[in-house]
Assembly symmetry: C2
Homo-oligomer: 141 residues x 2
């Protein structure tokens, strides 16, 4: 069902500073920068690698406000890994299967994610404490 | 420098139960199970995907004792993402470059990791709160 680790989502206080760190230290390159008002974040996708099943990214997330989900995460836990995103070929089928296995779905239907992807989150309490995201990449342009 | 997201390391209280969950819910398959006395963990590697630069895994970690690093992590934060492992082609060169950029190295020289890999950890305080591992895969058999 899972085709790859699509990205690791990392919460940070200062997006520009975090981007600079990942660029300078690890040689990653920003391929997308977006503001997602729905999720209350300003974010950047930095490419780690290309692969046949789709690229892999570090996703850096700065909250737009302290009362957004990422803002609350930072207040509670500090900077660090916020979630893990896995690629799937068919997100609707994956949600049906995973929901059927008893995992609570934060998004019962896919919504818009970074770079045109369809995404959905699973409840961390049902995934061993890991906020887990499914990602279906957009069709090739 | 980074060739892929090699794995996401996830701390759990009960390795057998966590393996069963990832197998049943996401269809992952255990490819290795080891006890690492140095790190104080019993662990399993579950393959997410193969790729030209190397496979990607979910690594499940159960502490061997409460006073091991993963045991202390669980006591402090509960189950969840413990670290992120990135593939590198040459771990010694990567450590030299990253250490030279001012990141403190938990392991200044590579040591033995899962499935014959050479690994080294970077200090999370210098990597935005993320315990970061470098992984150089063993040469093909």
């Amino acid at each position: 069902m899972l085709t790859r680790i699509d990205h690791v989502g990392i919460a940070c206080h200062d997006l520009t500073k975090a981007i600079g760190f990942y660029e300078a230290t690890f040689g990653l390159v920003v391929v997308s920068r977006e503001t997602n008002d729905d999720q209350g974040v300003s974010e950047a996708m930095l490419k780690v690698a290309d692969a046949p099943a789709g690229a892999q990214y570090v996703q850096l997330l700065e909250p737009l406000s302290p009362d957004s989900p990422v803002g609350k995460f930072l207040a509670r836990r500090g900077e660090g890994v916020h979630h893990v995103g896995y690629g799937v070929a068919d997100i609707s089928a994956a949600l049906k299967s995973i929901g059927g296995a008893g995992v609570r779905l934060i998004d019962s239907r896919p919504r818009h994610g970074s770079m045109g992807a369809s995404i959905a989150f699973l409840h961390p309490k049902d995934v061993g404490g890991v906020l887990t995201e499914l990602v279906q990449a957009p069709p090739p342009a």
